[in-house]
Amino acid sequence: MTELTTQTAQPTAAELVDWLRDRVAAQTGRPAEEIDADVPLNDYGLDSVYVFGLCAEIEDQYGIEVEPTVMWDNTSLAPLAEALLTLIAAR
């Protein structure tokens, strides 16, 4: 899982949400300030198989394995960041 990994230090929840917000903005072509951490990503068109690319970006950034289903179970950025922090801490 680490072919292209540039492993970073353990981020804070706020840092992780900010990073995710930028990635979601890039994936969806929206300004980052429009991405609300408590609104389901589905509302921005990121759901189903369209989260695969974002999963890989998270994997490469933080050196963890992210099943796309993690993003289905945590549908907005705030709970997603919580779930990812657990994975990052355990890496």
Partner: protein, 621 residues
């Protein structure tokens, strides 16, 4: 043949790879007397590699062929006339269904640990292909529908659910796979039929399913329902139940949907109104439905096109018989240069489809986490090849094809029956969308990884046993890994300089490099359902690379016993030529040096009563 399960990676091509002194494959003990027919001269394709004595399945296929008998015998209750009569009345061939029950076809859908005979996906395809050679309606309407329903339960069901469905199928029962709603097509994540708790806490069904095979007569149903009103990918679940357990007043069957092709298959609809379902109906965890569908249908997306190759097999046989029996311009129509080319090209198309689906089916065992990509690639490409091939054969037959006499009514039926393979289960576009979602990721991560593993070599050796199929390892995303493309790169790099396919390998590697550059730069905003045609075109290029890798590596991993006359690479070159034609790389007809050996082999197989696929088994079709 030994049963060594080597996990070695692809060996150096062009050096001979099979086990030294391995016996000739494919001579089951109870071989058909027709097996005594001298084998036609080998033509270079991995002859007989698809006859895995070790896996024990040719015996099943040959037994089924014997049960079906001679299709041309007018007195045969499952022969051509009977199949056509059933088609005329838009009914299933009852004698054929009885035959398949006697044969125990359903056992081939049930994993061995549940008492069935399902072990290898490519073996299931072999058996079902024999059914499709006789009557595609029997294949879809008796068998494939139950398998589509069952894979959901094998993948995500509880032990109790798995045992219950296994028992149902093993006793000859049917399962319907109720996903489709006309309003949502292949976009099942929008499915509207709901299963929400009623006042007593039990789930209650409300809504309709439409155009589902065997919905009225199946004893058991796998139903895809919305179990959460929220948007998202955790809002649906599969439900497994017996129709007898539902209150009749809450269920209304809709009129059957008549169709142009596959007319015998009974497509039904159903409407539920506050219909309670038994408590243990949900398959897996509530909300797991999209995940289960994406994982389990990887198997059926490979298997269905693989089965449908049997349809083309019979269409080709029928057309060849017709062209041989027709005198034009003072000779046999089949001998005209244009006819020979069309027949040879169709034969190569069939081998292309078989090679790609066989490798994809075997890769489900050797690389289950990547099976989703290969399944989408096969389902987006192979049905189109098959449909075009049958269409071209109809042009060969000309006015004869139009007449309701001789053998041609069967051909007309096959031309109609092949059509739904383009959109049934998953359409070309929906499969391309699935590929597109994984394309930029694969380009960035997989194709640039110089140390990634290729597929194990046994993936390309049809006669070798495979590791067990692990449903639990099927994954929603291939995570950017593509070991089949990697096999192309690795094998090409190690090909001997004088290897006759080395040049093809290098050309396909160059195409992969171009695709990597183009796909890496694809904006993430362009991979959704509203992607432009250019983006969809990239998925076709990806599919082409995968198909080419399957063909080249099958050649490079051919068994040692295929050496000698089979060392002639003309057939693989012809198959790759056809692949280039399907991908619009060129519009050239197959050159005579490649077409003539195929045309000659075609005639030999027809005369010897052998199938046209990689297996070359006896058939009475």
């Amino acid at each position: 043949m030994t049963s060594a399960r080597s996990a070695d990676t692809a060996p150096r091509p062009g050096t001979g790879t099979g086990p030294a002194g391995a016996p000739e494959a494919g001579r089951p003990e109870d071989a058909d007397p027709r097996e005594a027919t001298p084998r036609p001269e080998a033509t270079g394709y991995p002859e007989g590699t698809g006859c895995p004595e070790a896996a024990g399945r040719p015996a099943d296929v040959d037994r089924l062929e014997r049960l079906f008998g001679d299709a041309g015998d007018p007195a045969n209750p499952v022969g051509r006339n009977a199949v056509l009569a059933a088609d005329d009345r838009a009914g299933m061939l009852a004698a054929g269904e009885d035959l398949l029950t006697r044969f125990g076809l359903n056992a081939h859908f049930v994993p061995r640990d549940l008492g069935g005979r399902f072990e290898q996906l490519d073996d299931l395809v072999r058996v079902m292909r024999a059914v499709y050679r006789r009557d595609p309606c029997l294949g879809l309407g008796y068998g494939a529908g139950s398998f589509m329903a069952a894979v959901n339960v094998w993948t995500a069901g509880s032990t109790g659910q798995r045992e219950r469905l296994a028992g149902r199928l093993l006793s000859g029962g049917r399962a319907a796979c109720a996903y489709h709603e006309l309003d949502h097509g292949n976009d099942f994540t929008r499915a509207g039929l709901t299963a929400l708790p009623g006042p007593d806490g039990r789930l209650r069904l409300n809504g309709r399913k439409e155009v589902v095979a065997n919905l009225r007569r199946a004893e058991t149903v796998v139903l895809f329902a919305r179990t959460d009103p929220a948007h998202g990918s955790r809002s649906h679940s599969q439900l497994l139940f017996d129709t007898a357990d539902l209150p009749a007043a809450a269920v209304r069957h809709l009129d059957r949907y008549p169709t142009v092709g596959m007319r015998g298959v009974q497509l039904g609809g159903i409407e539920f109104t506050d219909c309670p379902v038994p408590d243990d109906s949900v398959v897996g965890r509530p909300g797991q439905g999209v995940e289960t569908a994406l994982r389990s249908f990887q198997l059926t997306r490979v298997a269905l096109p693989g089965m449908t190759i049997g349809l083309l097999d019979t269409a080709l046989r029928t057309a060849l018989r017709g062209a041989r029996g027709r005198t034009l311009y003072g000779g046999r129509a089949a001998d005209l240069p244009l006819s020979r080319t069309i027949l040879a090209e169709t034969f190569a198309d069939l081998l292309l489809a078989d090679t790609f689906t066989t490798v994809a089916a075997r890769a489900a065992h050797t690389a289950p986490a990547q099976a989703g990509v290969y399944a989408s690639a096969v389902k987006s490409f192979v049905p189109t090849v098959l449909i075009r091939a049958v269409q071209r054969l109809s042009e060969l037959l000309g006015s004869q094809f139009y007449l309701r006499a001789g053998e041609q009514p069967l051909f007309q039926k096959l031309l109609r029956d092949v059509q739904p393979s383009a959109f049934g289960h998953a359409s070309r576009v929906s499969c391309q969308s699935a590929l597109l979602a994984q394309l930029p990721l694969t380009a960035r991560r997989g194709w640039r990884a110089d140390t990634a593993d290729p597929l194990p070599a046994d993936t390309f050796r049809a006669g070798r046993p495979l590791p067990p199929l692990r449903f639990a390892d099927l994954a929603v995303s291939a995570a950017g890994r593509d070991p089949l493309a990697r096999s192309l790169v690795v094998a090409t790099a190690s090909a001997a300089p004088d290897d006759p396919l080395a040049g093809s390998g290098r050309a396909w590697c160059a195409r992969l490099a171009e695709l990597t550059a183009d796909a890496s730069g694809l904006a993430p905003t362009l991979i959704g359902p509203d992607a432009p045609p250019y983006a969809f075109g990239l998925t076709a290029r990806w599919t082409g690379v995968l198909a080419a890798s399957a063909c080249l590596n099958t050649w490079w991993n051919r068994p040692a016993e295929a050496a000698g006359s089979a060392a002639d690479p003309a057939v693989t070159l012809a198959v790759l030529h056809r692949l280039g034609s399907h991908l619009d790389h060129h519009r050239e007809p197959l050159p005579p040096r490649l077409a003539e050996p195929l045309y000659a082999e075609l005639g030999r197989r027809l005369d010897a009563g052998l199938t046209f696929d990689l297996d070359r088994r006896p058939t009475g079709a």
